[in-house]
Amino acid sequence: MSEVKTVEYTAKDFSSDQEVKWCPGCGDYAILKAVQKAMPLVGRRREDVVFVSGIGCSSRFPYYMDTYGFHSIHGRAPALASGVKLANPNLSVWQITGDGDALAIGGNHFIHAIRRNMGLNILLFNNRIYGLTKGQFSPTTDLGHKTKSSPQGVIDNPFHPGELVLGAQGHFFARCVDINPSHMTGVMVEAEKHEGTSLVEILQNCIIFNDKVFSDFTSKENKSDALLYVEHGKPMIFGKENDKGLVLKGFELEVVTIGENGITEDDVLVHDAYVKNPTLHFMMVRMEYPMILGVIRNVAAEPFEKKLAKQVLEVEKKSNFKTIDDLLLSGETWEIV
C-alpha cells in the first residue's frame, strides 16, 4: 500500500447513487456493505480506488461503489485490473468476480493474475451457480447437482478455488462467508494490506438459483460447529464449546476433541499463514469439515509492479538513449544534402 492519505470517510461515502438491483435476500448485499465498511479502514482516498469486474450478478458491484469503476466483459477482469495497476501502481485496485466469471470463462486470466502477483485485491463471490444467466451449473457446482443445464446432475468435478490458487503460486488466500459481514470487513483490510495479489473467496448464497447450498455450515444450527475461523499464530480451535481442534496426522489434518483421548490445547496446530511452503495451506483449503474461514495464506513477496519499477531504473541507468530523439537518431545514419 503506497502513499496512504488518511481521509475521514464513512462507509456511506462509498455508496454510489445507483439503485442496487440484486434480488431481495441475495448474499451480495452483505458483501457490498462489508466492502463499504472496509474502505474507510483501508484508508485510501476515494479517487485512488478502482473497482473492476467482469459479467455476472456479482459483477454489477462496481456500479454501487462511489469510486472509479469498470464493469467489463465476461471473465476478463483480471487482465483489465492488471492494465489499470500497471498504468498507475498508486491505485488501490479491486476486482469483483463470480465463480463463473473467474473460473469458467475467466480461468486463464485468473491463474495468471495469481502467479504474476501484482497488487490486486480479488473478491470471488462463489455461489456455485451462474446467477445472471438464470441458473446453469458453474465450475464450482457440486457433483450431481441438477440445474437448468445439468438436468440429470453435474458430472464435472468441481474446482476448489483455494486449491487452484495454491496450484497457481498464490501468495494470499482467504475465505469468508456472506453471513458474517464484520469478519469479511476485517479480511478485506488484510487483503489490501498484502502486497501482491490477494484472493478472497466469499461463499455467497444465491437465494434464487442455489439457495442453501452452504447451509451445511451456515445454517443457524450448523454454523457454530462447522466453521473454523483461523488467525495467524493462533491454534486452530473451533466448535460451539471451543473444544475441537486440528492436528497433523501424516499427510492429513484431523479433527480432534480437546479433553478426549488425552488431547490438550497444546496438541492443536497453530496456524501459520506466513510460511512460504504451501503444504499446510493446501491441506487447509481442502477441508470441508470444518470449513476454514479467515486468512489461510499470506506470504510476503515483491509484487510484479515493484519489480517492473526496478527494471525501469536499471534501464534508465544503462541505456544510451536519454530521449526519444536519441533513439530515433541512433544506429547508422547518413545525411543527404
Binding site: L91, L308, E332
Partner: protein, 616 residues
C-alpha cells in the same frame, strides 16, 4: 585485370540459402552498407514457417531480397538481377525469379548429386542446361572459406558458418561497396569472441579478393546515391518503425505507453522492440493470450496511459469482443494488426491484406471504429503516431493495419525529430466544464467524450459494456437512448474525416483508369503507375491510408475517371467496403492471394491490357 565500373540505375539482389546459412544477416549487411552510401532501397525477407526447416530442401530455404537504386525505390523488386544461391535448394526455389541474362552466384560445394536431388532437381542444374541463359558464377565458397580460415584454430562448425561472409564479400566487390560497415558490425557483434569476429572478417575479405581475382565477374558495378529529400536517414524495418511511432506519440501526448501483447508472427518484433525502452515509460506487458493483451490495454487506457495492443489475424479475431468494449466505453486504444496469410493459421510468414473486412466489420452489434493502414516500412512510424493521435483526440479504438511485407521489410527513413511532429492533445475535460462534467458528455465538434482518470478527485465514475445513458453514462435500457447512442458512435467516427488528410492522386489527375490500392501494396502500385506514366500512358493511383472513415474527397476523385480498378492482396475486401460506402461508382477488382506482393510487371501488364479494353 582492370575492370570497368559500370553505373547502374538500380539493382535487385537476392541472397538465398538454408535457414541456418545466415542469409537474413547477409542481406541486412548489404542493405546497411548501401544505405550508408546513400542509395534508396527496399528489402523483403522471406523465410520458412519452421524455425529450421530441413536442411537442403526447398522448404528450408531462407531468402533476403534487396532492391537498391539511385532513383527512388518503392518495392523490393519483382525479379533478381543477382541471385546468390548457397545450395541447390536455394537455386531451385528462386530460379523463376531471376531476370534472364543476369548473374547467379552458386556455391558449387553444395551442388553434389545428393544436394540437387534433395532440392528436387531431376539432373544436375549446373550441367544440364538449366542455367544456359544466365551468367553463372561457380564458386567453391565453402571450401574457399575453409581454406581461408584453416590456420585460425577455429572449430569446423564456426568456419563453415562464415561462408555467408565470403559471398557477401564477393557481392560487395561486384557493386563496389566498402567493407568497413560490416567489419565494424562483426567486431561489435562478436565482441566477446574476437576469434569469431576475425574469422568472419577474414572470410569477407577473402570473398572480396576472390571476386576481384576471378575472371567470371568481368565487371564491377556501382550505384550512385539516390536523389532523396535532404535530411538525416537511417534504415528502418516496418515493425521497428511502428514501435517508435508509438514511443513518439506517447511522449508527444505527455503519457506513458502501455503495450499489452501476445507474441505472434509477424507482429512479435513490435513487442520485442518496445520491451527495450522501459525508461521512456513504455510498459511492454507480455500477456497470457491475445484477449488479456487487449483487455489489459483497455485497463491501462482507463487508468490514463496511451494503450496499444499488437497482433496478427488470428489474434485480431480473438480481440474482437474486447474491441467492442473499448468502443462502447469510448476509450482510446490502438490495435495494430500485422496481417499475414489466412484464413485460420494460414500462411504465418507470408504477407496478405485479408483482414480488412474483419477490422471494419468483425464485431457484434453496430460497432464503428477507425481503421487506417500504413503503406511503407518507414511510414509505419507515421501511422502508428497518427493512430495514437486519433485514438486520444477522438476517444475511440483505432485499428492500424500493416502486413508482413511492411513489418519485416526495411527502407531508408528520413528521421523525424520530436520537434517536427504534430501535437497530440488528449481529450481531457476542459477547465470550464469541470464543474458540470458528466461521464458521457461530449466535445461539440468531435463528439468525443472526455477522459477522466482514476486518481482525479471528484470525477469518480463507472463505465462498462452495457448500453449507457447519453449523458450520465449510467446503464440505460431505454430504446430511444440506445438508438441515439448507436448513431452518435457512428457520427463520432464519421467526423474523423474532418481530421485526416484528403486523398491525393499520383499520376494522371483524371482519365480512363484510376488504380485504387491501400496499405502495403503502395510500392508496387506506384512503381507500375509511374512506369506507365513515363511512357505516356494516362493512369492515376489513389492509394488509401485511411480506410474508415474514407477521406472526404474520395468521391470527388473517383468521379474524375471512367474506370476504377481496386488492386488488393485478398479476395476483394476493400472493393466491397467501397461499394458499401460509395455505391455510386463502378469498381473492378484485381486480386492476388498468394502470400506474395504484387510484382510491378504483372501490374503494368494488367493496366495496359485494361486500358486497351477501355479504348476499344
Amino acid at each position: 585485370m582492370a575492370v570497368e565500373k559500370q553505373e547502374l540505375e538500380k539493382v535487385v539482389i537476392k541472397f538465398a540459402g538454408d535457414s541456418g546459412d545466415g542469409m537474413q544477416l547477409t542481406g541486412m549487411q548489404f542493405t546497411g552498407t548501401s544505405a550508408l552510401l546513400g542509395n534508396d532501397l527496399a528489402t523483403f525477407p522471406d523465410y520458412p514457417a519452421e524455425i529450421r526447416a530441413p536442411q537442403g530442401t526447398v522448404a528450408g530455404v531462407s531468402g533476403f531480397q534487396v532492391h537498391i537504386g539511385k532513383s527512388q525505390i518503392y518495392t523490393p523488386g519483382d525479379n533478381a538481377d543477382v541471385l546468390v544461391a548457397m545450395n541447390a535448394a536455394a537455386l531451385k526455389a528462386n530460379l523463376d525469379h531471376v531476370v534472364k541474362g543476369k548473374t547467379i552466384i552458386v556455391d558449387i560445394d553444395n551442388f553434389k548429386r545428393k544436394d540437387w536431388e534433395k532440392a528436387g532437381f531431376e539432373a544436375d542444374p549446373l550441367s544440364d542446361g538449366t542455367l544456359d541463359s544466365y551468367n553463372v558464377v561457380e564458386a567453391p565458397v565453402t571450401s574457399l572459406t575453409k581454406m581461408a580460415l584453416k590456420d585460425m584454430g577455429l572449430d569446423n562448425k564456426s568456419v563453415v558458418r562464415s561462408k555467408n561472409m565470403f559471398t557477401l564479400g564477393m557481392v560487395y566487390w561486384m557493386f563496389s561497396r566498402p567493407l568497413d560497415h560490416t567489419e565494424k558490425f562483426l567486431n561489435s557483434k562478436f565482441k566477446s569472441k574476437q576469434i569469431v569476429a576475425d574469422a568472419n572478417i577474414k572470410a569477407l575479405r577473402a570473398g572480396y579478393n576472390y571476386a576481384e581475382t576471378i575472371e567470371a565477374l568481368a565487371s564491377a558495378y556501382t550505384i550512385l546515391p539516390a536523389d532523396l529529400e535532404p535530411g538525416t536517414y537511417k534504415n528502418v524495418m516496418g515493425n521497428q518503425a511502428t514501435a517508435w511511432g508509438f514511443l513518439a506519440a506517447a511522449e508527444k501526448a505527455g503519457l506513458e505507453l502501455f503495450l499489452g501483447s501476445y507474441p505472434i508472427t509477424p507482429a512479435s518484433e513490435i513487442l520485442h522492440e518496445l520491451a527495450l525502452y522501459k525508461h521512456f515509460g513504455a510498459k511492454a506487458f507480455q500477456a497470457e493470450d491475445e484477449i488479456a493483451g487487449v483487455v489489459s490495454a483497455i485497463g491501462a487506457s482507463f487508468a490514463g496511459d496511451l494503450a496499444i495492443t499488437t497482433t496478427s489475424g488470428p489474434g485480431l479475431a480473438l480481440k474482437t469482443e474486447a474491441i467492442g468494449l473499448a468502443l462502447i466505453t469510448e476509450l482510446p486504444l490502438v490495435v495494430v494488426n500485422v496481417q499475414r496469410g489466412g484464413p485460420s493459421t494460414g500462411l504465418p510468414t507470408k504477407t496478405e491484406q485479408s483482414d480488412l473486412s474483419q477490422a471494419v466489420n468483425g464485431r457484434n452489434g453496430a460497432s464503428p471504429v477507425i481503421v487506417i493502414a500504413a503503406s511503407t516500412p518507414a511510414n509505419c512510424f507515421d501511422y502508428a503516431f497518427m493512430a495514437s493521435k486519433l485514438a486520444l483526440e477522438h476517444m475511440t479504438p483505432v485499428i492500424l493495419l500493416t502486413d508482413g511485407y511492411l513489418g519485416n521489410g526495411s527502407q531508408p527513413w528520413k528521421i523525424k525529430t520530436m520537434k517536427e511532429l504534430p501535437t497530440i492533445t488528449p481529450n481531457y475535460i476542459p477547465e470550464d466544464k469541470k464543474e458540470t462534467w458528466l461521464p458521457y458528455e461530449r466535445d461539440a465538434k468531435t463528439k468525443a467524450r472526455y477522459w477522466a482518470k482514476p486518481g482525479q478527485a471528484g470525477f469518480e465514475h463507472r463505465i462498462g459494456g452495457l448500453e449507457k445513458d447519453m449523458l450520465t453514462g449510467n446503464v440505460s435500457y431505454d430504446p430511444v437512448n440506445h438508438e441515439k447512442m448507436v448513431q452518435i458512435r457512428q457520427e463520432k467516427v464519421d467526423l474523423v474525416a474532418n481530421y485526416i488528410p484528403e486523398l491525393t492522386v499520383e499520376g494522371s489527375e483524371g482519365g480512363d483508369l484510376l488504380v485504387v490500392g491501400w496499405g502495403g501494396t503502395y510500392g508496387s502500385l506506384l512503381s507500375a503507375v509511374k512506369q506507365l506514366n513515363v511512357i505516356g500512358v494516362e493512369i492515376g493511383l489513389a492509394h488509401f491510408n485511411y480506410i474508415n472513415p474514407l477521406p472526404k474527397n474520395t468521391a470527388d476523385i473517383f468521379s474524375k475517371y471512367t474506370h476504377i480498378i481496386v488492386c488488393e492482396l485478398n479476395d476483394g475486401q476493400f472493393l466491397r467496403h467501397l461499394r458499401g460506402a460509395l455505391p455510386d461508382f463502378k469498381y473492378e477488382g484485381y486480386n492476388k492471394v498468394q502470400g506474395l506482393p504484387f510484382t510491378v510487371s504483372e501490374l503494368t501488364q494488367l493496366f495496359t491490357k485494361k486500358l486497351g479494353e477501355i479504348k476499344k
